[in-house]
């Protein structure tokens, strides 16, 4: 069971609470987690990564186990703690403070 934490605006859009849980088949990677997330919540397609290229949107970041994994390969395995559900995979909007 993978735990995913969405930013506030995407929680509103998907009509979910702060954390969603997903059953991901096969290796747990950014791509497999996002594929599963978008299949469950189709309204999120295009909001986290581009519809066509599947590249991460510029103002979106991915954190896991207190590390920024935004620039890791989408097919690289996520940390075991994420794969086992001990730690969540965080999708966050880039910093934009005043």
């Amino acid at each position: 069971m993978i735990r995913v934490i969405l930013p506030a605006h995407l929680r509103t859009l998907a009509r979910v609470n702060r954390e969603v849980t997903l059953d991901v088949e096969g290796p747990v990677t950014q791509r497999s987690v996002l594929d599963t997330l978008e299949a469950r919540y189709p309204m999120l397609q295009g909001t986290i990564r581009d519809h066509v290229t599947h590249r991460r949107r510029p103002f979106v970041r991915f954190f896991a186990c207190e590390q920024d994994v935004s620039h890791e390969s989408p097919d690289a395995p996520l940390p075991d703690a994420v794969a086992t559900g001990a730690e969540p995979f965080l999708i966050v909007g880039a910093m934009a403070g005043g």
Binding site: P7, G46, H51
Partner: protein, 392 residues
């Protein structure tokens, strides 16, 4: 008695204002989609309770929202899983992909950047949604980088009308607000004819339902922006307006100059007349008097606020040239707001109601064709768009 619904898009959400035909007391619903930029929302003329909204964010991109109950509840069309495998794919309502298909022969092209170099088209957002005059499932979207898309399934999926970018697209360039297709006018007498306007490319027309397009900018002068005085494209058109009873007569607020065409855009002539400044963004036509038009003069392209700090709408009852300032009820000192291109609209009651929203968060309304104004809401986020519906 008729009911009025005003649809307001702002930098931080959408608001729906309703009143009875007296237009004196207003109920305010919102914010809808709080925190998101709502560039535009508009109702279907066929089914007024069907509303489309463009919800956008620099972080999370484009969302299309649709309401089928006049704005009480909203959905992302196609955003839910489709139970039948033969149904259209879900989650495509925000998928705006430029046409690159070999079938159409319209490959992705490049346009001019601010510095004169060529750049590829990149989708940014939907600026304007124009529902069909006859079919509640058909809606057009004007987008940045400039292109025209159409949905025939109520906003679930979108296809580009790629012939538009063949109209000298390589010479189009972004204005200060981006290279946006902001105006879509459907000819009520000719379903094959559509007018659109782009900053900064100009005005274009199709006479075959969107397959082919040509620039219609003869008579526009942009000596401070374009080196060629007779440039066919590249003009920074801010807005065009038409009265439905006379679809061959168009009015234009250009970057500078207020213009008029009496031949469906084949030629334009200036009607700025005695305006204090002919820079501005919106332009609107009275619902019952096709020669009565409204603009909001703004000081200049570098000073986006009203002259002298006085907010005044200017009205011409003569189709241009002769203008009168309308200021009763509008702030006449220390006013430094702007009125954006999609933020003015008229209702069809008698007398005609006129509405506009400001970057200061007010929506002003006049229930007597502009003679007297009152704020029907204030202290909203900066207003991006205003549309009005008259409901029986």
């Amino acid at each position: 008695m008729s009911k009025i619904r005003v649809l307001v898009g702002t930098r931080k959400g959408a608001f729906v204002l309703t009143s009875d035909g007296t237009r004196k007391r207003w109920d305010i619903s919102g914010p809808h989609f709080g925190g998101w930029e709502i560039y535009h929302l508009k109702g279907s003329p066929v089914d007024p309770d069907r509303l489309f909204a463009s919800q956008t964010s620099s972080w999370f991109g484009q969302i299309i929202q649709r309401s089928d109950d006049g704005g009480k509840t909203w959905e992302t069309p196609g955003g839910e899983k489709m139970p039948d495998p033969y149904d259209p794919p879900a989650g495509m309502s925000n998928k705006f992909v430029y046409d690159t298909s070999p079938e159409t022969g319209k490959p992705l092209t490049t346009h001019q950047w601010y510095d004169g170099t060529q750049r590829p088209w990149e989708f940014k957002r939907v600026w304007h949604l124009e529902p069909s005059l006859t079919d509640p499932d058909v809606v057009y979207a004007g987008i940045e980088d400039a292109a025209l898309f159409r949905s025939t399934d109520g906003g679930q999926t979108w296809q580009e009308l790629p012939g538009l970018r063949e109209a000298k697209g390589h010479l189009w360039q972004p204005g200060a607000g981006g290279m946006c297709l902001h105006t879509i006018i459907l000819d009520p007498n000719n379903p094959e004819r559509i007018f659109i306007a782009i900053s900064a490319a100009g005005t274009f027309r199709t006479d075959d339902g969107g397959k082919t397009w040509r620039p219609i900018n003869r008579g526009l002068k942009s000596p401070h922006e374009l080196p060629d005085p007779d440039a066919e494209v590249g003009h920074c058109v801010h807005r065009i307006a038409m009265h439905p009873s006379r679809p061959n007569v168009l009015f234009m607020q250009k970057h500078w100059d207020v213009m008029r065409s009496d031949d469906a855009g084949e030629s334009w002539h200036e009607i700025s007349g005695n305006l204090p400044t002919d820079f501005g963004f919106p332009i609107a036509v009275h619902a019952h008097q096709p020669e009565t038009i409204y603009v909001v003069p703004i000081t200049s392209d570098s000073l986006h606020y009203p002259p002298e700090g006085k907010l005044r709408v200017y009205r011409s009852r003569t189709g241009g040239h002769e203008w009168e300032g309308l200021s009763k009820g509008l702030p006449q000192q220390d006013c430094y707001i702007n009125v954006l291109r999609d933020a003015m609209a008229v209702d069809t009651l008698d007398p005609c109601g006129v509405y506009f929203g400001t970057t200061g968060g007010q929506v002003y309304a006049s229930a007597d064709a502009g003679d007297n104004w009152t704020p029907i809401v204030r202290d909203l986020p900066a207003v991006l768009s205003v549309e009005v519906q008259v409901l029986s």
